[in-house]
């Protein structure tokens, strides 16, 4: 394998690892957030919804810039991380994960929130009268009824993390082997006029994205239109 091919492979592997990690964190953290947004009558709900949707409209470079400043060693958060782990957040894998989680948040929270809202209260109330406690009925009724929402959320979160560019460039810096993800590698190849390499990598990402989406739509169709 040529050094460039090895570098491309490393970029792809890093991308997949990043997307998988970010998606896992988003599902774990986004589910309670989506549940709260779907159920609460608190006045805080609307501002929180707006905050969650921010990455949809903000230029990725702006988000990346604030992350760079907010997570840098001179910020309270960055300083705490430095004391805890001995390394700074920017230009590391952990920094990439932090940026991706924030950037992909609406793509996970919004489908989950919609799925939780669509199921209404009837089934949960029925479960309560059948002696299922709050945690029990969340996992045995709310989550299974929202399963299509989970599939959509996981896919969009994963695919969107694979596809991001601005945030990871700002916070990661595109350091080969450490923070250089596939989308930046394509950009670099074009900058270096290596169109053959850019072609190969781009085609790979294209095929991957299509296959992932195809899989999701197939699964969602199988689950049937009548079961949410």
């Amino acid at each position: 394998m040529t050094p460039t091919a090895a570098a491309d492979l490393a970029a792809v592997t890093l991308t997949l690892r990043l997307a998988a990690t970010a998606t896992a964190i988003l599902l774990i953290g986004g589910t309670p957030l989506a549940w709260w947004l779907a159920r609460t009558r608190s006045p805080a709900r609307t501002p929180v919804e707006a905050l969650v949707a921010m990455p949809l409209v903000l230029p990725p470079t702006v988000l990346g810039y604030y992350l760079l400043v907010g997570l840098g060693p001179h910020s309270p958060l960055g300083a705490a991380w430095l004391r805890l782990t001995g390394s700074t957040l920017p230009f590391t894998f952990a920094g990439l994960v932090a940026g991706s989680v924030l950037y992909s948040l609406p793509f996970v929270v919004q489908p989950l929130q919609a799925a939780f809202e669509a199921q209404g209260r009837a089934a949960l109330e029925a479960a309560a009268t059948l002696r299922a406690g709050p945690i029990d009925r969340f996992f045995t009724v709310a989550v299974p009824l929202a399963r299509r929402g989970f599939i959509t959320a996981a896919t969009l979160g994963f695919a969107h993390t694979v596809g991001e560019f601005g945030v990871v460039l700002m916070i990661g810096g595109g350091i080969p082997g450490r923070t250089l993800v596939a989308s930046i590698a394509v950009y670099n190849h074009v900058q270096d006029l290596q169109y053959a390499r850019a072609d190969l990598l781009s085609a790979g990402l294209l095929a991957f994205s299509f296959l992932v989406l195809l899989m999701v739509y197939t699964i969602n169709r199988r689950l049937g239109p009548r079961t949410p």
Binding site: A123, A128, T129, L130, L145, R226
Partner: protein, 354 residues
């Protein structure tokens, strides 16, 4: 059981206080929008804003004075929702198992197989709930509520939105429940027919408040209540199957004031039955009728009269124990000189058995 609940919502106040026996069916009857469903939900613990007191046998579920509020999942109510509220992600069997698994082992008195058989769910067990008909959904919901080993069964309009066949089937099952269960059953309905057929006691609810409560037969005969007026007004009489006449395919029922002949009823002699006699099917005469096609003629005394619209009068009769209602025109009432104490013969055109 004992209920004393208060709940205020935009433009609506529920202020309900009533008692129900520890066994048997109590109907919460009233027009749509009277607050019956809200009351049922509050009893189940699904309306946290409701204040007051709820006690079922020895268990106090709610008591404002003692700051007690047992959450819905610790009350152990079997709630049959109006829309059934089945779990769409589970099969019928999965829905039943959900309830059974969470029922405390020491309180499981019914056998899942027997309940499924009794409610005729055998062929449905592996079906998805989305594919069931309205009556099937209702039967699954009843079975699911029963398998949760409830301490109180709540039924919200169990027969609404069903076709006639579905209604009769679910009704038969509800009547069966009365003998099967050793817990209080509260049934919400706006249908006098359902209440008359199923309930031992009834609580009349209007505009969020209790207008009256008592034994069903006694309540239905009270002329001061709206239930004893209009087309559906009628008396409920507790009778016993006495004999069958195969020659004419008729059955004799005996009640404290006399006998009724009805179309053949399959129950063996000695079986208690309840019959409903609509006020519009009863006419009155002063002399014993002769040469008439009407089979059921009961000697009675006028007990009370009450106007029923501009042209009609509702008459409560004392039929030697049980009460009968008769609706006659005001003109006839005057012509016959109807007044309390007068001896009359009630000609009953039709008797409905339940």
């Amino acid at each position: 059981m004992e209920v004393d609940l208060h709940l205020a919502r935009r433009g609506f106040v529920l202020e309900a206080r009533f008692e129900a026996p520890a066994r048997g069916v109590t109907a919460l009857f009233g027009p749509s929008g009277a607050g019956k469903t809200t009351l049922l939900r509050a009893i189940a613990g699904l309306e946290p804003a409701a204040t007051g007191r709820v006690r079922v046998r020895d268990a106090v579920w709610q008591d404002g004075a003692r700051r007690t509020f047992v959450p819905a999942h610790r009350r152990g109510v079997g709630y049959v929702f109006q829309d059934a509220a089945l779990f769409a992600h589970l099969t019928v069997r999965g829905n039943l198992a959900y309830a059974w698994r969470r029922a405390p082992a020491g309180e499981r008195r019914l056998d899942p197989e027997a309940v499924a058989r009794r409610l005729e769910l055998g062929p449905l067990l592996d079906r998805r709930t989305a594919d069931l008909s309205g009556g099937e959904r209702r039967r699954v919901a009843i079975a699911r509520a029963l398998l949760g080993a409830p301490r109180l069964l709540l039924l919200d309009e169990p027969l609404s939105a069903l076709d006639l066949a579905g209604r009769l089937r679910v009704l038969a099952h509800l009547q069966g429940l009365r003998e099967m269960l050793d817990i209080p059953v509260l049934l919400v309905s706006h249908s006098l027919d359902v209440v008359a057929r199923t309930a031992d006691r009834m609580v009349l609810i209007e505009d969020g408040a209790v207008r009256g409560e008592g034994e069903t037969a006694a309540m239905l005969a009270r002329l001061d209540l709206p239930t004893a007026h209009g087309d559906q007004a009628g008396a409920v009489i507790h009778a016993v199957v006495e004999a069958h006449d195969p020659r004419y395919a008729l059955t004799t029922l005996r009640f404290p004031g006399g006998r009724f002949l009805v179309a053949h009823h399959p129950a063996p002699p000695g079986t208690p039955v309840r019959v409903r006699v609509l006020a519009r099917d009863v006419s009155l005469t002063l002399d014993p009728p002769q040469r008439t096609s009407i089979l059921n003629i009961v000697a009675a005394r006028v007990a009370e009269l009450s106007e029923d619209g501009p042209a009609q009068v509702m008459v409560r009769l004392d039929a030697g124990g049980p009460a009968l209602l008769a609706r006659v025109t005001r003109r006839s009432a005057e012509a016959l000189g109807l007044q309390p104490g007068l001896a009359v013969y009630a000609q009953v055109k039709s008797v409905a058995l339940s």
